[in-house]
């Protein structure tokens, strides 16, 4: 087994009054052991729903995982009953969210919230759990751990709360950590601290990370492998250096060009024209075609499939379909 988790043809739909929204549409990828895979994309591209589907957090009847397979340690997470899923969630797969303030219980002491998974999953006694909780608080770089364990979430800053979330997430030594925009709500100096810490934890415990972000800068710093999503589909994926230096898909290229970079000022920023299509109104076409500068006629009528171009890089774009290019 060299993969921590393998996602196969996952589709998750949401049902609205106006019709079904294909939030995640036939997505397959894997997170190799000990590696960091980043899913990058703009709001509404389905990156968070992918994470929620893995964790079994998509709630019916509003939304439903339509099809697919999520292979984790030889088991299909989608076929597990609630009880077995609970024993994996927070234990072998842990998740941290964007908003640390709203993911912690405001009326429960920090220490107790860290102890909870230790007592449930690792069957520790209260005393053992408290000792471990204090160690964990120390491990995530917070001084005065005993005092912090006895305080409530509102007494801590956003950066500290996110550290606590990480402490809870790593408390049971998970094999996979899913981090959904973990630094988006934080200031840059705090973001730098948190990213450094995630990197250290990964190296020390050989954990795999699935990092979801919209920030290409964060991707460049953290990822081994990158997945670019657009309107519920993977449009490009590849090894990080390859993808940043030789992006293939026009959307990836556009995204990379439109981000202002410090010390590389341009007279005018490149910007992708138009906006993301309405998810209720997707036709059989490349979803990016109306914003694409290299749009061809086939792009408007047929959806390109994700296919390999070069080693470790895949792209879903008609420009790279040789057979079509020659027609």
């Amino acid at each position: 087994m060299d993969n921590s988790i393998e996602i196969d043809h996952l589709s998750t739909y949401f049902y609205t009054e106006e019709g079904a929204v294909k939030a995640v549409d036939d997505v397959s990828f894997r997170v190799p052991l000990g590696q960091t895979v980043c899913i990058v994309g703009e709001s509404g591209c389905g990156k968070s729903v992918t994470a929620m589907s893995i964790m079994g957090l998509v709630e019916e009847p509003g939304g439903k995982v339509i099809s697919g397979k999520i292979d984790f340690s030889g088991e299909d997470l989608l076929k597990l009953d609630k009880h077995s899923l609970r024993s994996i969630r927070g234990n072998e797969i842990a998740m941290i969210f964007q908003e640390p303030m709203s993911s912690l219980n405001p009326v429960m002491k920090i220490g107790e919230q860290i102890m909870e998974p230790l007592i449930i999953h690792l069957k520790m006694s209260k005393k053992q759990a408290r000792t471990r909780a204090i160690e964990l608080i120390e491990q995530v770089g917070i001084s005065r751990p005993e005092q912090i364990a006895d305080s409530y979430p509102h007494e801590l800053s956003g950066g500290m709360l996110q550290r606590i979330m990480i402490a809870i997430a790593i408390s049971c030594n998970p094999k996979l950590l899913i981090a959904d925009e973990p630094t988006t709500a934080l200031d840059v100096t705090i973001q730098a601290q948190i990213l450094d810490m995630l990197r250290d934890i990964k190296t020390n415990s050989n954990m795999s990370i699935l990092l979801i972000t919209h920030d290409l800068g964060v991707v460049a710093e953290m990822a081994d492998y990158v997945i670019v999503m657009y309107s519920g589909k993977i449009v490009e994926e590849g090894e990080v250096v390859e993808l940043f230096e030789r992006p293939k898909h026009p959307y990836t290229k556009g995204l990379l060009k439109s981000k202002p970079i410090i010390n590389q000022r341009l007279e005018e920023l490149y910007s992708i024209p138009g906006q993301v299509p309405n998810p209720l109104d997707l036709q059989e076409s490349c979803y990016f075609h109306d914003r694409c500068e290299q749009c061809m006629s086939i792009c408007q009528t047929k959806q390109p499939q994700l296919q390999e171009v070069g080693t470790q890089q895949k792209v879903a774009c008609w420009l790279y379909e040789e057979a079509v290019a020659h027609v």
């Binding site: 800053s157 840059v188 100096t189 450094d196 439109s258 970079i261 005018e268 993301v276």
Partner: protein
């Protein structure tokens, strides 16, 4: 040199901390503590800092949306905080504000055209018959289409709503726009569109911007001069090129090195600051940054560094420079 459009001299804004039944004042949050900014017509000044640094309060105090504690704000030579209500009203169209969140700054039940035209009518700048033309003109300059005029806010995406926010400011023909984190809530591809719109409008209309942001890469792109704030005080101001080439204050250096760069091979010597930004209600003694500064020495703990000129138009408040 021509008369500056905006002059902020030693501005202070303290919020009282009250306690108990009688609302006794037990202390002050020094949100803005002795800030000076000069802005020439057509120029862009970028105000950078982390949350809690007081940058938004500076913007709001300049527009007199909140009262100052001390100091002076002059807009075109007029002391904003000493104007009578009617004088203030007369000058208001010339200074406009754009907010961060385009979703909550528009009334969901008011048509876009009415939202944009409201201020024109309210200030009596246009007759009823001409409003529609002016609104259309503003919409089109902001990259929207004329048929958008009768739509409601929920029919627009985030980027389009921010364009509406800009159109609403623009329709009054302002000379100064204070933009408070106008692109922070937007996706990268949309963010680039809005940044370009800001530059284009400046070129065609000679607008001056006070651009408030936490994102240094955006500020570098738009601003000709930049000020870095920390806990209510300005720690460094310089021209853009100077600040990015030769940052002097340790906080500026740390901020610059903390911004993630989308180049995976780049290995930088990052200065990672320890700890959080302290509470502005109880700021550290001496240099407010000394608790997190990697180079702090003894003097930093006791003596407030003077904000002094160290090069042409380059000011910094640090004992070690």
């Amino acid at each position: 040199m021509s008369e500056p459009l905006l002059e902020v001299n030693h501005l202070k804004k303290y919020f009282p901390i009250t306690k108990g039944l009688l609302n006794r004042t037990v202390g002050h949050v020094k949100a803005v503590d002795d800030i000076s900014i000069t802005l020439q017509p057509g120029e862009t000044f970028g105000l950078v800092g982390e949350s809690g640094s007081g940058k938004s309060t500076v913007g709001r105090t300049i527009l007199r949306l909140t009262d100052k504690t001390e100091g002076e704000i002059k807009f075109k030579g007029l002391d904003i905080h000493n104007l009578s209500p009617s004088e203030l009203r007369a000058i208001r169209p010339k200074m406009q504000l754009i907010f961060q969140d385009p979703y909550s700054s528009l009334n969901p039940r008011v048509r876009v055209g009415d939202a944009i035209g409201e201020a024109l009518l309210d200030h009596g700048l246009t007759s009823k018959g001409e409003v529609r033309d002016r609104v259309l003109d503003a919409l089109v300059s902001c990259g929207l289409s004329s048929y958008h005029i009768d739509r409601f806010p929920h029919e627009f995406s985030g980027g389009q709503r921010q364009r509406i926010g800009i159109a609403r400011a623009l329709v009054l023909n302002p000379e100064l726009i204070i933009a408070d984190e106008p692109v922070s809530a937007l996706d990268v591809s949309i963010q680039a569109q809005i940044i370009n719109l800001f530059s284009k409008l400046q070129e065609t209309r000679g607008l001056a911007y006070l651009f408030i942001s936490h994102d240094l890469s955006v500020v570098e792109h738009l601003c000709s001069r930049i000020g870095v704030m920390y806990l209510g005080s300005m720690v460094e101001t310089a021209s853009r090129d100077e600040l990015f080439r030769n940052p002097l204050h340790p906080y500026t250096k740390a901020l610059l090195s903390a911004v993630p760069v989308p180049i995976p091979k780049l290995k930088r010597d990052r200065i990672v600051l320890k700890g959080d930004i302290p509470s502005p209600a109880n700021p550290p003694s001496g240099c407010k940054f000394h608790t997190r500064c990697p180079y702090a020495v003894d003097i930093c703990k006791h003596q407030i560094p003077e904000f002094r000129e160290v090069g042409s138009q380059h000011h910094v408040a640090c004992h070690l420079v």
